[in-house]
């Protein structure tokens, strides 16, 4: 696979965001004299004739770039506790190193997050599609813990404001320590000096950084469904 320069990746990334997320017709007028643009055209990623500019090949590559960028942001925010204003800048540099399957490893480590810390969706990779979760993972959703596990809340993975407000009203916010007590029939956990019960759908949205190593539920709830039948 040919390796693109950082600049080329940046261009693809911003084109992808405009085309796929803002649904705008991209304008590369400002890039007229940029040599990287010519290279991209030469390599077959961009076609001036196309309304969306990106060729099929370009679209795929661009999606991967966006994925790397947003995964990098997640990693910086959740594992390395980088504060918000720095995240974007740092991950802009970080993302270009994530090649050759490295991004999938990070994705797996993070537990296949669906959004970046700013709430934008992360394009799925091969690893997400398989959803084979490997047990070394550090960040898992509450749904996958077994009773007795403790963790620190790392992020809430939802775009739904109602759900978010509900979780907030219980005090589920990053940094708080949580201990799972039961997972059936409801998820019961201890946080601070209070206990709460929530359903599976809410538990799925809460991602925690495991604080102790030990077994957790690898199959993520499926075990219980089988057990019931």
């Amino acid at each position: 696979m040919e390796r693109l320069t950082d600049k080329e990746e940046e261009i693809l990334e911003s084109l992808w965001v405009e085309v796929e997320e803002s649904a705008k017709t991209p304008d590369i007028g400002v890039l007229r004299d940029e040599p990287a643009l010519e290279d991209l055209i030469e390599k077959g990623f961009i076609d001036r004739q196309k309304e969306k500019l990106l060729t099929e090949k370009g679209l795929k590559e661009a999606e991967r770039c966006v994925r790397r960028h947003r995964l990098a942001e997640r990693l910086l925010a959740d594992i390395l506790y980088v504060k918000d204003p720095l995240i974007h800048e740092a991950s802009c540099k970080f993302e270009h190193g994530l090649h050759h399957g490295l991004e999938d490893n990070i994705c797996t480590l993070l537990g296949h997050p669906r959004t970046c810390p700013h709430g934008k969706p992360i394009p799925e990779g091969e690893c997400c599609k398989k959803f084979e979760k490997i047990p070394q993972r550090l960040i898992v959703s509450l749904k996958e813990l077994v009773p007795g596990n403790t963790g620190k809340i790392s992020y809430i993975n939802t775009q739904d404001t109602q759900t978010l407000k509900r979780l907030i009203s219980m005090g589920i916010l990053p940094g708080n320590q949580i201990k799972l007590l039961h997972r059936f029939p409801s998820f019961v956990f201890e946080m601070g000096n209070s206990n709460f019960a929530i359903d599976k759908d809410l538990a799925e949205n809460i991602y925690v950084l495991l604080l102790q190593t030990g077994p957790f539920n690898k199959k993520g709830g499926k075990r219980w469904r089988h057990g019931l039948k």
């Binding site: 009203s169 206990n195 709460f196 019960a197 929530i198």
Partner: protein, 646 residues
């Protein structure tokens, strides 16, 4: 000069109502589960000769409301602009309490922070430096144990000396948010009960209520600019603002809490913790639920309440009370037809008051006692956690356990309590199920007493009613549009309930109940009396006889059904009467019991449905139930006839 207003705010289950009771000396129900204060309680109190108005509000966690309850609470806060706000919080959850405190302080509320349930915090080894906390926040902080009346004297002093607080700023957001707040604040021209900065923050969230308030009071172009500023910010930050604000609140609260708290090593699992934990395991929880239903509802309410107590009271009433009044009225009223209004077959005393006092009172009283007990132990939310998965199948969440179980006491009260459910969809489903298939305790008690002579009959009744409940919920869940419910509830620690508290609560619920019921019982007697004189009663009874014949029931049950419309329990009591006279076969009793259980919600419940759910829906539900209950009766009757039960 008008009296100063004191408002009590705070999340559910931290002792707001009990503080209210302590300060006022009157009683509001106090409970160990979210959602008892659905009505707003107000009272006048005197402290050191000064008059105050005391207002209790439903539970709220923050200034961003989630449920209808919280909306009501915030609305009171915004509307009444109290002179003093008592924020009640659990001492052992200082951090969470402080998040709300900070929000209130930024809103410029004149605040006193009350850290309640201090004893539990001490048991957990938590020590809070009150003076330091007062210094940091700049407001009075009082420690209390409201159920034991500890700290109330200090609280009263703090209220008397309460300073008018000015707006304080504790939180600093990122630059783009601060800019938006500044812009919005500059467009706000009118005066509001909360500070401009706090209002601007609220305006940045998704909060239609606040938006409407501001839209109504600002110039159009100013409001448009506010919306613009909000939209602009939205493009810059992609997380919902509520989240960003809460993260900031949390950080600040955590910081303060850590500075003022000294935590000794937490005691290892004590007995109550262990027990509380056990009740959440299905292996213990489900038998416990069965035990609660069998012993609490069947044995206590059914067998003891509707059997033993009713027999005794009914006997006493018929033997002594009725004859006594008949004798008196014969002396003072010479005209028989007027006498009939009071002591005739359907007389106010001989029927209305007899039903209310001798049949309904013992059953409902015992139910409320059992319910209050379950509530005070903290068992109800656990029951919700246990049943959530099942309730999801009928479109409800575990939270709905509270209104549904309360419905087994009084459906009218339960319909009111459906307000604790977060979505309109859930409230509709719960209202429907309560109207159709949840028998109230008087009904339940009487039906259990009538049917328990034959175990199989009771089993069939139970089977029919619970299938109707499950089936109709399942169908509603399928056909109603809208989001499926989600479930979250705080599980309070299991507490040993205090007998005095349970009694007070049972008493105040009974009082509410009788205020609702007794007038209707009396009106029923009056209507029937008028109906009898004008012969209208006979016409209605004759008309009702037709559908009854259709489902295989004798004509004289018509009046029981007519009673049933006045009050569910009134109809059930009528059935009890007829059965005692030995007039009915088992099949007839069973079919009548099923129809009466499903039958129209009583007038009181119908009125509550109107109030809570609106005209269209309530009438729709009533018509459907009328038709449906007789259909079920018809099918059941024919099956019983085919099987050969007389």
């Amino acid at each position: 000069m008008e009296n100063k207003k004191i408002a009590i705010v705070g999340p559910p289950n931290v002792g707001k109502s009990s503080i209210f009771n302590n300060l006022s000396g009157t009683y509001v129900t106090v409970s160990n589960y979210p959602g008892t204060t659905v009505e707003i309680f107000k009272t006048h109190i005197k402290l050191k000769g000064k008059d105050y108005q005391l207002i209790d509000t439903p539970g709220m966690y923050s200034l961003w409301p989630l449920s209808e309850e919280e909306r009501v609470a915030r609305w009171i806060l915004l509307k009444s602009s109290p002179d003093v706000i008592l924020q009640i919080g659990e001492a052992k959850n200082l951090e969470k309490t402080l998040m709300f405190t900070l929000q209130l302080l930024e809103a410029g509320c004149p605040l006193i922070l009350v850290l309640n349930i201090m004893d539990e915090a001490k048991d957990e080894g938590i020590h809070i430096d009150i003076h330091q906390l007062e210094n940091i926040l700049g407001i009075p902080v009082v420690e209390t144990v409201s159920v034991r009346n500890i700290g109330i004297g200090k609280l009263k002093e703090a209220i008397i000396n309460a300073p008018a607080t000015t707006e304080a700023t504790f939180l600093q957001y990122s630059r783009s948010i601060e800019e938006a707040i500044g812009a919005i604040a500059s467009y706000i021209k009118a005066q509001y009960t909360i500070a401009k900065r706090a209002l601007s923050v609220l305006l940045l969230g998704e909060d239609p209520e606040i938006q409407n308030i501001v839209r109504a009071r600002e110039e159009r172009q100013d409001f448009e600019k506010i919306v613009q500023a909000k939209e602009q910010l939205k493009r810059k930050i992609s997380q919902p603002l509520e989240y960003v604000v809460n993260v900031a609140l949390q950080e600040k609260a955590q910081d303060i809490a850590q500075r003022v708290t000294k935590s000794k090593k937490k005691k290892e699992r004590n007995f109550s913790r262990l027990l509380g934990d056990l009740t959440l395991k299905p292996l213990v929880g489900i038998p416990l639920l069965a035990f609660f239903l069998y012993f609490g509802i069947y044995k206590l309410v059914g067998v003891f309440g509707a059997g033993v107590c009713v027999d005794f009271l009914e006997g006493a009433f018929e033997k002594y009370v009725s004859p006594f009044f008949v004798f008196i009225f014969q002396k003072i009223i010479p005209f028989e037809f007027i006498r009939n209004l009071f002591v005739g077959e359907y007389g106010i005393i001989t029927l209305g008051i007899r039903y209310a006092v001798a049949i309904v009172l013992p059953i409902v009283g015992i139910f409320f006692f059992v319910f209050s007990f379950a509530e005070d132990t903290g068992y109800l939310p656990r029951m919700g956690a246990m049943l959530d998965r099942l309730f999801k199948k009928i479109g409800l969440s575990g939270r709905a356990v509270i209104p549904i179980v309360l419905g087994l006491g009084c459906d009218t009260m339960a319909t009111m309590v459906t307000r604790i459910l977060p979505t309109r969809r859930e409230r509709i489903i719960a209202t429907f199920l309560l109207s159709l298939s949840v028998p109230c305790s008087a009904q339940l008690g009487v039906i259990m007493a009538v049917l328990s002579q034959k175990g199989w009959a009771l089993a069939i009744w139970f089977l029919v009613i619970s299938s109707v409940f499950a089936f109709s919920g399942f169908i509603l869940n399928r056909i109603l549009k809208g989001k499926k419910p989600s479930f979250h509830i705080e599980l309070p620690p299991l507490r040993m309930p205090r007998m005095s508290n349970i009694c007070i609560k049972t008493y105040s619920r009974l009082k509410w109940y009788f205020k609702e019921v007794l007038p209707l019982f009396i009106w029923a007697s009056v209507f029937i009396w008028v109906g009898q004189i004008t012969k209208l009663f006979d016409i209605v009874i004759a008309a009702l006889a037709y559908p009854l014949r259709g489902v295989g029931l004798p004509d004289y049950l018509a009046k029981v059904f007519l009673f049933g419309f006045f009050r569910r329990d009134y109809g059930a009591a009528g059935l009890y009467d007829l059965n005692k006279q030995g007039l009915l076969s088992m099949r007839e009793v069973l079919v009548a019991a099923v129809i009466l259980t499903l039958f129209l919600p009583c007038i009181a419940q119908f009125l509550m449905n109107l109030k809570e759910r609106g005209m269209k829906l309530s009438i729709g539900i009533a018509l459907f139930i009328l038709f449906f209950s007789f259909s079920v009766g018809f099918v059941l009757n024919n099956i019983l006839l085919i099987v050969g039960i007389p």
